[in-house]
Subunit: 308 residues, 2 copies
C-alpha cells in the first residue's frame, strides 16, 4: 500500500518593509494543506482542489504540479505523485498563498522520499511554483514557509537562506482586504532603478532590523520598519492602507506595512495584548472605509511546513 501523508504549510508575510525580496516570516494561520502519495506513474496527478475554484488541476498550470514535476525531473526518480490540495489561503492575498502550496508540495515530497533534500533544496524546488504564480522565482515566502520563523534570503545565486532570531514576544496582526492584487502586476509597477541614496536608507534599515531581532530590541525593530522602495508605489493599490497603518502605529504597533505585494497589510507588535489592540483598531479603520476583509492574529511561527 502506498504511503499517503497530509502536510500543511503556513501563510507568510514577506518583505517586512525594509527587506524587499529577502525577508519573510511564518504565521501560525491560515495554512494550505495537501494530501500527497507516491505513485508509480512517473507523473503528477492533482485529484482535487478544495477551497478555491480558480486554480487549474493541470499540473503544468498549478503551483503544486510544477513543484512536484521539478522534483521528478531533477532527481530522475521513476515515481509520480498524486495530490489533493486544500487552499486555506486566498490566492492574490499577499500572504504567500502560492508560496504555501509550493512549500507544502516540496516538503511533502521530501517526507515521502525519506528526507533526501535539505531545507534550502526544498526552497529551491518551491521557487519553481512561485515562478509560475508570479513570473519571478522569489524565495521570500517559500523560505519562511519551509524553515519557519523569520528568514533572510542572503543570496539567490547560489540560494542561501539564513534563519534569523525571533524575539519571543513578536506578534503579527494581518488584515486581508477583499481585493486581489496580482504579484506580477505589483512587481511591474516598481522602478527597475532606484536612487543609491534610497538604497542606502533601505539597507541601513535592513541592518537595523536584523540587529534588532538578535538583540530582541523592540525599539530598534520599530525604528527599522520603514519601506522606501515598494510601499510608495504599492500603497495606492490597497483600499484603506494609509488609515490602517496610521491607527496601527497609534495603537503601539512596532511598525506596519504591505505584506508581500499586498493587498494584505501587516503590523508587527510586541506582545499579544498589543497585537490584539492593534488588530482591533485596524479592523475598525478598514470597516469604516467600507471594505470587506479577513483578519488574522498570530505569533511568528517557529515551524514552517509540517505533517499533520
Amino acid at each position: 500500500m502506498k504511503k499517503r501523508i497530509r502536510v500543511k504549510a503556513p501563510a507568510t508575510v514577506s518583505n517586512l518593509n525594509c527587506g524587499f525580496d529577502v525577508l519573510g516570516l511564518a504565521l501560525n494561520e491560515p495554512c494550505d494543506y495537501i494530501e500527497i502519495e507516491l505513485t508509480d506513474t512517473g507523473v503528477v496527478e492533482i485529484e482535487e482542489i478544495r477551497g478555491c475554484d480558480s486554480l487549474s488541476r493541470d499540473p503544468d498550470k498549478n503551483v503544486v504540479g510544477v513543484v512536484l514535476q521539478a522534483i521528478i525531473r531533477n532527481t530522475g526518480i521513476s515515481s509520480g505523485f498524486r495530490v489533493c490540495l486544500e487552499k486555506g489561503i486566498a490566492p492574490g492575498s499577499g500572504i504567500g498563498s502560492s508560496g504555501a502550496s509550493a512549500a507544502a508540495a516540496a516538503f511533502g515530497a521530501n517526507e515521502l522520499m525519506n528526507g533526501r533534500f535539505t531545507q534550502t533544496e526544498m526552497v529551491s524546488f518551491a521557487m519553481e511554483g512561485e515562478k509560475l504564480a508570479s513570473g519571478s522565482s522569489h524565495a521570500d515566502n517559500v523560505a519562511p514557509a519551509i524553515f519557519g520563523g523569520i528568514t533572510l534570503v542572503r543570496s539567490y545565486r547560489p540560494l542561501d537562506i539564513v534563519r534569523i532570531n525571533v524575539p519571543s514576544e513578536l506578534y503579527c496582526a494581518v488584515i486581508l482586504p477583499e481585493t486581489e492584487i496580482k504579484t506580477s502586476f505589483a512587481r511591474s509597477i516598481l522602478d527597475r532603478q532606484i536612487a543609491l541614496e534610497t538604497a542606502v536608507r533601505q539597507w541601513g534599515n535592513l541592518g537595523g532590523l536584523v540587529a534588532g531581532l538578535y538583540l530582541e530590541d523592540y525599539d530598534l525593530i520599530s525604528r527599522s520598519l520603514e519601506d522606501h522602495v515598494a510601499e510608495p508605489k504599492r500603497a495606492p493599490l490597497i483600499p484603506g492602507f494609509a488609515g490602517m497603518k496610521t491607527v496601527a502605529v497609534e495603537q503601539g504597533a512596532l511598525g506596519a506595512g504591505i505584506s508581500g505585494s499586498g493587498p494584505a497589510v501587516f503590523a508587527l507588535c510586541g506582545g499579544l495584548a498589543s497585537a490584539t489592540m492593534v488588530l482591533n483598531a485596524m479592523e475598525k479603520s478598514i470597516r469604516s472605509a467600507g471594505v470587506n476583509f479577513k483578519s488574522y492574529l498570530s505569533p511568528v511561527s517557529r515551524t514552517g511546513a509540517v505533517t499533520c
Copy 2:
C-alpha cells in the same frame, strides 16, 4: 590653570563591502592624536599640526577646527578650544583619516565639557568634519571611531547608530598603497541610480553579514562580504587591487575589499594566525606589482576614541 587632555581616535574601515555608507569598524592602529584645552577666547586655535604638511591650520579649513566650531555654535558656550593635532593616519588613505581627527575633536571636547554629549551627538558633530573633508557628511567612519567595534548607521535623518556584535576572533589586515584617492572623487564616479536587483543583492548580503556577526558564524560572514555597488567602480583606481584580493581569499581571508573609498584594501580574517598569513600574501602581491605601501594588522578594536 586650564585642563589640557590628550585624546586618540583610531583608523576605521568603512563599507565592509556590502554596507556602503552604513557599516564601519575600528582598528587598534594607526590613530590620530590631539591635545586639546578649553580657552576663554570663544574661538578655535590650531597651534600645531604634526605628521602631515598638507593640512591647514585655519580652523575653517581643518576638520578639527570645523568640528570644534560646530560644537561652540550649537551649544552656545563662550569657551574656545586650543588644539595640537598629530596625524598618525595619512589623509586620503581610505581608513578614515579625516574621520579619526573629527572623532578625536568631538570626543576631546566632550571630555572637557564634562561628558555632556551622547556618543551619537559626538558622531553628529564629527560628521561636520567629514563634510569639509569629503563633501558629504557620512558617518560610517566617525561612528566606529567614536563607538569602537563595528557600527551600523541605521539612519542618517535622524542619526541612529547601532553597535553590532564583534566576534572575538575577527582580525583585519590592511594594505595602504602609496597613492591618494580623494573621497569626493571616489564618490563622484559611483552611479546615482542602481538596479533594484543589485540593491536586493547588496541588502541580502548586508542582512547576512549582520546576522553572521551576531551568530559569530564566520562562514556566513565570509559569504556575505560581497560588494556589487562600489567595488566594480572603484577597484580600477587602486594599483594591485585584484591581485591582493585574490591572494587574500586564497590564503583564507573571510573576504577582502576596498576600505572606504580606497586606496586602502582590507581583508577580514578569523583569527590572528590567519590574518598574519593573509597580510603576508597581500604584501607580497603588492610588492611584486612595484607599489610602495604601508600595512597594518589589528583585531577589531572594542574601543573608539579614548584619552591617552
